[in-house]
């Protein structure tokens, strides 16, 4: 029986930085754009809407793992299993025309990625 060589690859990619503060520090209808910039820093993205701007803060993680079984002589790949997972923390702050926070939405998923 031909010998098989097994190989394993793990990859990690990180884009951006974790959020600096929590949305609990913001009060809808009271906090201003200045407060948001002071607490969270420059947004990753600024979007325009017909009723005001929105700041988007993103921290993104990507995990990759794969397992290969290969014939070392012929180089034939007998079996490959790979898994890619991408998650992010995302905070979106909506402002009204005057720059007051209208609503806030947050997702915390970057740290829930499985190890493999």
């Amino acid at each position: 029986m031909a010998l098989l060589v097994a190989g394993c690859t793990i990859g990690r990619v990180y884009y951006g930085s974790p959020l600096r503060a929590t949305p609990a520090d913001l009060a809808e209808g009271q906090s201003t754009r200045h407060d948001v910039l002071r607490l969270f820093g420059p947004p990753t993205e600024i979007m325009h809407q017909t009723d005001g701007d929105a700041f988007v803060y993103t921290y993104q993680r990507y995990n990759y793992s794969s397992f290969h079984l290969q014939d070392p002589i012929t180089g034939i790949n007998w079996f490959t299993y790979s898994r890619e997972l991408e998650n992010r923390d995302r905070l979106v702050v909506f402002f009204d025309f005057t720059g007051v926070v209208r609503s806030v939405a947050i997702d915390h998923h970057a740290d829930t990625l499985p190890t493999l």
């Binding site: 690859t9 793990i10 990859g11 990180y14 910039l37 420059p42 009723d51 025309f97």
Partner: protein, 150 residues
């Protein structure tokens, strides 16, 4: 003989390659210059003099002067903005760095890449003066040697 075979197998398993990569995009932002920005005082042309051309410009213009805003308001009772022409509402300056590390063994490979940015976003008012700004310096948070220094 058996010992030699074991040693060769051990060496084969340990044979490895290491890859380190560094990515730099644009140039570092001068914090001394950033400290000179004053809200309501510094003008757009002064910003351009100090920092040069920005990487990103929001050049939205409200050109619908005289057109009623009411149809565009999403909620009843919202007040329309005071109409004005805004040439550029904000500039963004970015300095990006990325660190890559990979360990290549015969049976196992591990690689990681981390990118962080220094960002300066400057908002302007209708008079082309700085209304607000924010600076975030995240590049020092980059792990130097991947997971070893994370």
């Amino acid at each position: 003989m058996r010992r030699r075979d074991t040693s060769i197998c051990g060496l084969a398993l340990l044979l490895c390659g290491c890859v380190m990569g560094r990515v730099y995009r644009e140039h570092p932002l001068d914090e001394q210059k950033i400290a000179t920005i004053e809200r309501g005082v510094t003008t757009k042309s002064e910003i351009l003099d100090r920092f040069g051309p920005p990487q990103e410009i929001d050049a939205r213009e409200l050109t619908a002067i005289g057109v009623p805003f009411e149809p565009f308001l999403s909620r009843r009772g919202d007040k329309p903005p005071v109409e004005r022409v805004v040439a550029a509402r904000w500039f963004r300056y970015t300095y990006s760095r990325g660190n890559a590390l990979a360990i290549i063994l015969i049976l196992f490979n591990y690689g990681e890449f981390d990118q962080k940015n220094d960002n300066l976003v400057i908002f302007f008012d209708g008079d082309n003066k700085v209304e607000d700004y924010a600076f975030g310096k995240d590049t020092p948070l980059l792990p130097r040697y991947g997971f070893w220094s994370r």
